[in-house]
Subunit: 289 residues, 2 copies
C-alpha cells in the first residue's frame, strides 16, 4: 500500500488519554485513517476531546463500536484484557485489534485464549510516553522516530503482523518484534526498574534537603512524577520480572556499599566505570538509530 | 561594594576543568575580577585554556602563586586539602581561599587545623555541574540562577563570609550557609545517592535490552555518564552518609518488592504516591526559587 493511501477508514481509540490521543492525532495527520472514534467512560471528557479535534466522534463503551477497521486499546494495563474481550465480542471478524500496553505476557496469554485471536489481535507497545497525562497533552509527534514493539504469537496471522507493522511505521516508528515474555524481561530492565528506582530515590528526599536538589536529582527522578495508579498496575502486571530486576539492583547497591565500607577505591571506580560504559553503549545505540 | 566594581583584582583557579573554567569565564564576564590565573599540572593544556580565553595566564603549581586576591580550588575532592595547604603556605594572609568541592566535612575539618584558617578559608559548593568535563565545555552561564552552599565554621570571619557570599551572588547564584556536616547529609540524599542509584540501574542493562531503552532510561541514568574516578572520590569522601543513604534506598526497594510479592496493589500505589508527592515538592520549590 502506498504511503499516501488510507490504511484504515475508521480507527477506534479505547482510552483517550495522552497515548490514545497522540495516536489519534498522528494517524489523521499522516493520512493513515479518515476518522477516529474515541471510546471512554466520561461523555463530557469525550466531547471535550472532540472539541479539541483529537477525535471525530465518541461512544462510551466498546460494545457500541460499529464499522471500525482497527481498534487500539490504550487503557491502563489492568483494563486492557477486559476491553479487548468486549471488542472481540462486539466487532466483526474483519476488525483488527491491538493495544498499547507497557506489559505484554499476561495480557497476550489471556487474549490468546479468545476465539480466532491469532487472526484478530496482536500486542503492540509503542515505546514513548510522558509523565504528563490526558488528551490535552496529546502530541502528534510523540511517536516519531521512536520504537514500537509488536509481540506476536507463533501462530499470529502474517497479514495482521504486516498490517500493524505498516500502521506503526507510518506513524514514524521503527517496528521490532519480540515474544511477549522477552518484551517483559527487557522492559523490566529498561523502563520498569528505572521507574521503581527513581521513585525510591525521590521518596527519600526530605523537606530540608529538597531545597538543595539540583539537575542530577531532577533528571534521575523525573519519571517518579508519573501516575502512581498506572505504574502500580504496570509493576503488578510484570511482577516477576520487576521483583527479579529489583533484586539485581539491591545486589548492585550492596556491592557499592561493600566497596565503601572496605574503603576500596578501585572496586568503587570499577563499579562506576561499568555503569558509565553501559550508559555510553545506550548513547551510541541511540545515535545509530 | 556596588555591583559594577571589581571585587578581586586577580583570581587564581586551581584545576582548570569544566567547573574552574566556567567560574573563570563568568567572573570576568560579570566584571568581578580583572584577570584569572589558571593553576594546573599540564602546561600544554593551560596554554590551550589561555588560547581559548578561559584564563589569562598560568602557573603549574599553587606554590608559584603571587599577587592573587582570591584562590578557588576546583580540583577533585581527594586533592583539595593538599592544594589548599599549599596555597596557605605560598600566599600572604590577605589572600582569601575557597574551594568548589562536592563534599565538605572531611575537607573543612582538615583545613580548619591550618593556622588562621577561619580568617582565610571558607568552604564553597556551587550546585551546578555537568556530565561533561574539561574547560573546552566551560560555560559562563553554568552557575546563573543556581544555588551555592557556603560551609563556614562557627569561628569563620564575618568579613570572609560576606566576601564569598558576594562573589557567588555576583556570579548569579543564590547563596546559602550550612554546616559542613549538614551539607554532606543533604548532598548525600540529593546528589550522591541519585548518582549511585542511576549508576547501579545503568549497569544492569545488557546488549539486547539497551536497544529498547527509551526516554525514561535516558533521564534516570543520565548522571551515570559522569567521570568514574571523580565520583569514586566523592562517594569515598562522603562515605558514611552515602552508605547510610544507600541503606535507606535498599530498604525502600525491599518495601516495593514485598508489596509486589504480596500482590498488595494498595501498598504499591502508596509507595509510588509518596514518591510522586516528593517529586512534586521538588518541582514546586524549583519554581519558587
Amino acid at each position: 500500500m502506498p504511503e499516501s493511501e488510507i490504511q484504515f477508514e475508521t480507527i477506534a481509540i479505547v482510552g483517550v488519554g495522552l497515548i490514545g490521543g497522540s495516536i489519534a492525532l498522528a494517524a489523521r495527520e499522516r493520512g493513515i485513517c479518515k476518522s477516529v472514534i474515541g471510546v471512554g467512560r466520561n461523555p463530557q471528557r469525550l466531547q471535550h476531546a472532540i472539541d479539541l479535534g483529537v477525535i471525530d466522534e465518541s461512544v462510551t463503551s466498546c460494545s457500541e463500536l460499529v464499522g471500525v477497521d482497527l481498534v487500539i486499546v490504550c487503557t491502563p494495563v489492568d483494563r486492557i484484557v477486559e476491553d479487548v474481550r468486549t471488542c472481540f465480542a462486539s466487532t466483526p471478524e474483519s476488525t483488527l485489534i491491538t493495544d498499547a500496553g507497557s506489559v505484554k505476557s499476561n495480557i497476550c496469554r489471556e487474549i490468546h485464549e479468545l476465539p480466532n485471536s491469532a487472526e484478530r489481535f496482536i500486542g503492540s507497545h509503542p515505546l514513548a510516553g510522558s509523565h504528563q497525562s490526558g488528551f490535552e497533552n496529546a502530541d502528534a509527534s510523540l511517536y516519531a522516530n521512536r520504537k514500537c514493539v509488536l509481540t506476536p504469537w507463533e501462530d499470529s496471522s502474517k497479514h495482521l503482523i504486516e498490517a500493524m507493522s505498516q500502521f506503526w511505521s507510518r506513524l514514524g516508528m521503527q517496528v521490532h518484534s519480540l515474544s511477549p515474555e522477552e518484551h517483559d524481561r527487557i522492559l523490566g530492565l529498561t523502563s520498569h526498574l528505572p521507574h521503581l528506582g527513581a521513585s525510591a530515590i525521590a521518596g527519600l528526599i526530605d523537606d530540608v534537603s529538597v531545597d538543595f536538589a539540583a539537575t542530577g536529582f531532577r533528571d534521575t527522578t523525573r519519571v517518579a512524577a508519573g501516575d502512581p495508579g498506572l505504574w502500580a498496575a504496570i509493576f503488578s502486571d510484570n511482577s516477576e520480572q520487576v521483583i527479579e530486576a529489583t533484586e539485581q539492583l539491591i545486589e548492585t547497591l550492596k556491592a557499592y556499599q561493600n566497596a565503601l565500607v572496605a574503603n576500596d577505591r578501585a572496586a568503587l571506580t570499577d563499579l562506576l566505570r561499568h555503569a558509565q560504559t553501559h550508559r555510553q553503549l545506550f548513547e551510541e545505540r541511540q545515535k545509530r538509530d
